[in-house]
């Protein structure tokens, strides 16, 4: 039995997740700038350099960045496991991941294989360290909750995402875009494995907790994540072995699993006891609707054999589904962590109460509401970009508008997070002086 599990020291320092959370909006702003100034066709052609850059600013720089930080924070709290040397590990992963991403982006944009090699090398080191630490921690957890298997399959999927990319780049002289058939596997493991499974694992815990809904059905908690993982394995098998029937089985599994998850979650939300809605709740509802929409859009594209639909599906999935859920989580996690750490500071100084600001004083609801609105505008513009082709210069203007909206929404996110951190610092300083 693992008794050390609930010691107070298990809450990693605030800086452990914060350094990731504060870096993420910077990559979001960069992506917005690229949309705004990238010229024609930033998102017109799947295989353009700029598309590849925007995709990885978002997937590596924003979404993975937040998720890697959040997991290091949440795992100790929810799974009762301590990450050894959490601060050092977090620093190392953050540095490797950020610099690796920057080098990769530079390598892609400048056509420099050497930068790609270094970038991917650093990302690979970061991934190994991160996945290793998470799996080590999970193996020692006493929890039997479905979140455990979801998180484990998610981080293994991140490994697969990387491995397929190593394979592709190694066989193509480290230049990208390659337009390689295996890229579909790379992105499937990234989107449906790493992102989706982690989202599912988080949802099992946070949806019942914060909205006071019934638990996810036990069968869902037990089987959904493994099912998606098997679906991805079959999907890869069908691609590598050229087995068409296996591909159909995989698609049937993945599409129904995703749709099932979204429907179950929306249903739970309808049964919620807590009627008060907050930004996190609204963000998650948007995320589920986007998830359902992207599944349908992807399926239509697949059946029609029209890749434009499938590309739209990816955009809706990433920016409507994953980004919404991630933003919703940030607005829940960050103010609470600030409160918790301040509270612990006061207590170790031997004082109860004190002037600790509550979660709504750390991040006022009206700030996050505004950020939400702007982010929804950017999502709306992004979704209609494909329609721009019917108007002269339409897609160009729409892409630029989306760029402006991205810059605005990620800047707002950054400012809100910085305000939260400065609130922490000023109260902590006052305590030290006092």
């Amino acid at each position: 039995m693992n008794i050390a599990f609930l010691s107070l020291a298990q809450t990693p320092p605030l800086s452990v997740p914060m350094r990731f959370f504060l870096t993420a909006p910077l990559f979001g702003i960069a992506a917005g700038l690229l949309l705004l100034f990238g010229g024609d066709g930033v998102l017109d052609n799947r295989w353009s350099i700029n598309t590849l850059l925007v995709v990885h600013m978002v997937t590596l720089g924003v979404l993975s960045m937040v998720m890697i930080g959040a997991l290091q924070q949440l795992l100790p709290v929810l799974m009762g496991v301590v990450i050894p040397r959490s601060n050092m590990v977090s620093r190392a992963i953050h540095l490797l991941w950020s610099v690796g991403t920057l080098l990769l982006l530079a390598g892609i944009s400048q056509h420099l294989p050497i930068l790609n090699r270094f970038g991917v090398g650093l990302l690979a080191l970061a991934t190994l360290l991160f996945v290793g630490v998470i799996l080590y921690a999970l193996a020692r957890s006493d929890s039997k909750h479905g979140t455990l298997i979801a998180v484990a399959t998610a981080v293994i999927s991140l490994l697969f995402t990387l491995l397929f990319m190593l394979w592709i780049l190694n066989s193509s002289g480290w230049l990208a875009p390659v337009v390689h058939p295996l890229t579909n596997l790379h992105m499937s493991w990234g989107l449906l494995g790493w992102f989706m499974l982690l989202l599912i694992g988080a949802a099992y815990q946070v949806v019942p907790m914060f909205q006071i809904t019934p638990e996810f059905p036990i069968a869902v908690r037990r089987f959904l994540a493994p099912l998606i993982f098997v679906g991805l394995l079959l999907w890869s098998g069908s691609d590598l072995l050229q087995l068409v029937w296996m591909g159909w089985v995989a698609i049937a599994i993945l599409v129904s699993a995703l749709a099932l998850f979204a429907v179950v979650l929306l249903r739970l939300q309808l049964q919620r006891k807590r009627r008060l809605s907050d930004v996190t709740f609204t963000y998650w509802r948007v995320a589920m609707v986007a998830l359902l929409t992207s599944t349908v859009v992807w399926l239509v594209g697949y059946i029609l054999g029209d890749s434009r639909w499938m590309e739209s599906a990816v955009v809706i999935f990433l920016m409507g589904g994953i980004l919404s859920a991630v933003s919703g989580m940030l607005f829940k996690i960050v103010p609470f962590l600030v409160w918790l750490h301040l509270n612990n500071l006061y207590q170790s100084a031997g004082e109860w109460q004190g002037n600790v600001p509550n979660v709504r004083q750390v991040i006022p609801e009206r700030y996050s509401r505004w950020q939400f609105r702007v982010q929804m505008v950017s999502l709306g513009i992004l979704v209609v970009i494909p329609l721009g082709q019917f108007v002269d210069q339409g897609s160009r203007y729409l892409t630029q508008a989306a760029g402006i909206a991205w810059i605005a929404s990620f800047t707002m996110l950054l400012v809100i997070l910085l305000l939260a951190r400065s609130k922490y610092q000023s109260v902590a300083r006052a305590l030290n002086r006092g």
Binding site: M1, R274, N358, R360
Partner: protein, 144 residues
């Protein structure tokens, strides 16, 4: 019956009262708010009492851990009591913002606390106290 189920059900009961209290405050319905807030705090104090006076001591006795998980749970009870205090004051002062700020903070603290208990501490208790669960639940039911 398992301790996990018994105590988990009591968490659900507290959660439901919490939701009612929060909702009536957000509507500015202070007479309802006052009584549901009191009901909520009472339900929580009752739950803490079952743990602090009956469940935890027995667990500590049998498992031999006095400074382990139960200590952390007690500490979090204290943190929650602080927030009850703020919620009570907000009801007295009829301040919606103060109440909802404190209650939302409490919700997060309480839920991660409950999750740790339901997913780890209670199952451990069931394991350590296998065989005497019915007797113990009888004692818990008798707690005023």
């Amino acid at each position: 019956m398992q301790i996990t189920d018994f105590m988990g059900d009591d968490h659900r009961r507290c959660d439901n009262i919490f939701a009612t209290a929060e909702e009536s405050v957000s509507k500015g319905d202070w007479s309802v708010a006052e009584s549901s807030n009191t009901r909520f705090v009472d339900a929580m104090e009752h739950h803490f009492k079952m743990e602090e006076e009956t469940l935890f001591p027995r667990f500590e006795e049998v498992s031999g851990h006095t400074m382990g998980p139960t200590e952390v749970m007690r500490h979090e009870h204290k943190q929650m009591r602080q927030l009850f205090e703020q919620m009570n004051q907000a009801v007295t002062g009829q301040s919606v913002d103060d109440y909802l700020g404190a209650s939302e903070t409490l919700l997060i603290l309480m839920q991660q606390h409950n999750a740790k208990e339901e997913q780890m501490l209670y199952p451990m208790t069931d394991q350590v106290l296998a065989g005497e669960q019915d007797e113990l639940i009888g004692k818990l039911e008798a707690v005023e």
